[in-house]
C-alpha cells in the first residue's frame, strides 16, 4: 500500500516538473513559433507572414510567460491537455491513438528481448568464464554501445534492402513489427542478458544452489525450481530502468521506421512547435514511467518475500 501512495506522490511531482520543464523549453526554442505552427497547419509552401501573424494573434503567443504557465498547469490539474495547435484535435485523443501503436511496439520489443537476453544470460551464468560467457560479454557490450539508429539502419540495409525479406517501414501488418521491435529488443537484451548472467552466476555460487543438488535434484530441476525465480528478481527490477532505454529508443525507431506512435508524434510536435502536443506527450511518457515502476515494485514484492517484509 505504501508503495502505491509514494508512487502517487511521485506521479504528481513528475507531472508538475515535466509540465513546467517542457513549457520552459518550448518557450526558449529559437525561431518564430507562430511561423512554425502555421507551417505545420498549412504546409511549408503556403505559409507567409500574414498567416503566421494570424496564428500569433489567435494563440496569444506574444503574451507574458508566467500566466500562460499557470494556466497550463491549472488545465493539467483538471486533466485538460488542451487541443493540438496544428490539427485542432484534443491532445488526449491524439495521444491515446498514438499510445496504442507505441505500447504494442514496446511490448513486442520487450517480449522479444526477454526471449533473447535472459536465456543466453542464464546459460552463460551457469558456466562463468566459459566460451558463451565471453562471447556474450563482447556481443552485449557491442550492442549496448551501438546507437539504436545505427542498429536500425544496419537491419534495414541487410534485411529489407539486400535480402528483401521484410518491409523497411510501415504499419498495419504483423510483419511490420519485426524490424522496429528487433532494433529495440537488441539494445534491451544486451543489458538484460548481462543482468541474467550476473544473477545466475551469483545464485549458482550460493550455498542453497549446492544444497538443492545435494538434496538429489538434477541440474535442470535445480535451475527450474531454485534458479529462475531468483534471476527474475533483478531482471524485473531492471525493467523499470530499461523503460527509459525503451522510450529513448521508441522516439528514434519510430521515426526511422515511420511508426505512427507517441515518439514519432513527439518529434513532429517539436518541429511544428505544437506545444500542447509536446507537453501532453512528454507527460504521458513521464507518468508511464511512474506507473511501470509502481507495477514493478508490486511484482518484485510478490517475487521476493524478503522485500515485502
Amino acid at each position: 500500500m505504501n508503495v502505491l501512495v509514494s508512487r502517487l506522490v511521485q506521479a504528481v511531482m513528475v507531472a508538475v516538473l515535466i509540465g513546467t520543464a517542457t513549457f520552459v523549453m518550448m518557450r526558449s526554442l529559437p525561431g518564430d513559433a507562430a511561423w512554425r505552427i502555421a507551417a505545420g497547419r498549412y504546409g511549408y509552401d503556403r505559409v507567409d507572414a500574414a498567416s503566421a501573424d494570424a496564428v500569433r494573434a489567435e494563440l496569444g503567443l506574444d503574451g507574458p510567460t508566467l500566466p500562460a504557465l499557470v494556466q497550463w498547469l491549472g488545465d493539467l490539474a483538471r486533466f485538460d491537455f488542451g487541443t493540438s495547435l496544428v490539427t485542432g484535435q484534443p491532445v488526449i485523443k491524439e495521444i491515446v491513438h498514438q499510445l496504442g501503436a507505441t505500447v504494442s511496439l514496446a511490448l513486442a520489443a520487450l517480449l522479444l528481448s526477454l526471449l533473447i537476453g535472459p536465456p543466453l544470460g542464464i546459460l552463460a551464468g551457469l558456466r562463468p568464464g566459459g566460451a558463451l560467457d565471453r562471447a556474450l560479454l563482447v556481443a552485449s557490450t557491442g550492442l549496448k554501445a551501438a546507437p539504436q539508429f545505427l542498429i536500425a539502419l544496419v537491419l534495414i540495409v541487410l534485411v529489407a534492402v539486400q535480402l528483401r525479406w521484410l518491409p523497411a517501414a510501415g504499419h498495419g501488418e504483423p510483419r511490420h513489427f519485426i524490424l522496429p521491435a528487433l532494433t529495440l529488443a537488441l539494445g534491451l537484451s544486451a543489458v538484460n542478458a548481462r543482468i541474467a548472467r550476473d544473477a545466475m552466476a551469483r545464485i549458482a555460487d550460493m550455498p542453497y544452489w549446492r544444497f538443492a543438488q545435494w538434496k538429489g535434484l538434477s541440474e535442470r530441476q535445480t535451475l527450474l525450481r531454485h534458479g529462475l525465480r531468483g534471476v527474475s528478481v533483478p531482471l524485473v527490477t531492471y525493467l523499470g530502468l530499461q523503460f527509459v532505454t525503451l522510450v529513448e529508443g521508441v522516439i528514434i525507431v519510430e521515426s526511422i521506421f515511420g511508426w505512427p506512435g507517441i515518439g514519432h508524434a513527439l518529434v513532429h510536435a517539436i518541429f511544428s512547435r505544437d506545444v500542447p502536443m509536446v507537453q501532453g506527450t512528454a507527460l504521458m511518457l513521464g507518468l508511464g514511467f511512474v506507473l511501470i515502476n509502481a507495477a514493478i515494485d508490486l511484482a518484485v514484492n510478490r517475487l521476493d518475500p524478503r522485500t515485502a517484509s
Binding site: 544444497f211 545435494w214 538434496k215 538429489g216 531468483g230 517484509s309
Partner: protein, 480 residues
Amino acid sequence: MSLLKASNITVSQDGTPILEPVSLRLEAGEPLVILGETGSGKSLLAQAIMGTLPRDLAARGQVALGDHLLDAARPVGFRALWGRQIAVLPQEPWLSLDPLMRVQSQVTEAHRLVNGKPVAEARTQASADLDRLGLTGAGHRYPHELSGGMAQRVAIAAARAGGARIVIADEPTKGLDAARRDDVADLLLAELARGGGLLVITHDLALARRIGGQMIVLRKGQVVEEGPTAAVMAAPSQAYTRELIAADPENWKPRTKQAAGSAVLTATGLAAGRGGTRLFSDVSFDLSEGEILGVTGPSGCGKSTLGGVVLGLIDAADGVVNRADGLKATAFQKLYQDPVAAFPRHRTLARTLDDVARRHGQALGRIEELLPRLGLSPALLSRRPDAVSGGELQRLALLRLLLVRPSLIFADEPTSRLDPITQKQVIDLLCETARSEGCAIMLVSHDPALVSRTADKMLSLGTTAAKVDVTAPRVVGALR
C-alpha cells in the same frame, strides 16, 4: 555389513598430496566423528566421500555404499547418490535454503522429485517431517522468517527427504553458542536413531563428546589417532590429541585471580538498544587494571553494543560510563572477532604496524620487543594479512592494540574463528597481557566454559536481568 566403507581415500592438489590415505567404515546406528582443526583435511575427506571436491582437487580411493562401488577419482558417479543414499547437512543452514521458496516446499520437492512420490503424498510427508522436528506450522514461512536452529531442522528434513540413510554433517555447529550446539548434537542423534549412519566432521570437542561413537583425529592430512570417541577423549594415546583435548576450555585450569590495580572505568545503570529495541538495561560494573570481565549471553543480546557504549562509540540510552581521569579516548580499544577484516588487505603488516607505532609516538623498537612476547616471528611482518594464519593475525591485532598503550581492551569474541589450540594460545596471551601491561579486559564469548576459566568476574546479558559482580563459577552454573 557397513553402510559405507571408504578405502585409501587421498586428496591431492596439482600432484601435491594434501590428504594421506584414510580408510573408514560407517556402521548403522553408530556415529563416526572426524575431528581436526582447520587445514587438517577433515572437510576434504568428507568432500571426497561425497564427490563434492572443488575441481582443482583430485581424489583417489574407493567408496563402497551398499552395493554401489564408487571411484573417488570420478566424482560424477556420486551425483546419483546425493539425497538418495547420502544426505549432506550444510554448514550454513540459513544460507542453504532457497530464500524465495516457502520452507515446506523445499522439503516437499525432495520427496516428490527425488523419491518420486505423488504430489499429495509428498506434501503430507513433508508436513509430517516438519511436525516431527518441532516445526509444526512453520512450513509456510520463508527462510528469512526462521531462526538459525529452525533453519537447521528444515535443512535436515530436506536433506533426508530423498530417502538417504547416511547423514554427513560438516561443521554443523560452526558459530553456534553452547546451548544451540547441544541442540544440534541431539538433532543429529535423533536422526541417527531413525536408522542409518551419521558422519560428523568437526573441530568442536564438546560436539564430538556428545555425539560419541567412533572417532578419527586428523592433523595436516594425516590420521593421528582413531578409536571409540569416549576412549580417545578420556585417554588419548598421541601427543597431538592430548594437546587438542587440553585446549578445550572445559579442560582449562582456572586462572588465578590477580590483585586488582587502580580503577579504569565505572559503569552505572547502563542501558542501550538497537533499532528501537532495548537490548539491556541497568548494567553496572567497574573495572580495574589487570582485571578481566567476562561477558556472556546468547547472540543478539547486545554484547557488542555494550562494547560500543564502553568504548564511547555508541551513546547509552541511560546510565553513565566514568572513565578514570587522565586516560585518553584511545586508551579504550577493541579487539575484533574477525582479524582478517580488521587489517587493510593490500598493505604489508609491517607498514600497518609502523603507522600505528608512529601515530602513537611509540619507539620503533616496541614492535620488535612485543613480537617474541606474543610468540610471533619477525618474518611475518613482511607479509600481507591473507598470508598469515588466523591465530597469528589475531595476535598481531593484539600487538597493534598494545602499541596504543590501552587501559581497556574490549575483546569481542576474539577466538570464535580459531581452532582450539590456537584459541588457547590467544586467550593465554590476552590474560598475560592484562597482567604485564596492567590493562583491563572485557572478554566477550559465547562459551561459558572459556569465560569461567578466564575471567575474574562475569557479566551475563540476555533475557534475565544482567547479573553483576557474581563470581565466575556461579554464573556458569546458572547458565547451564
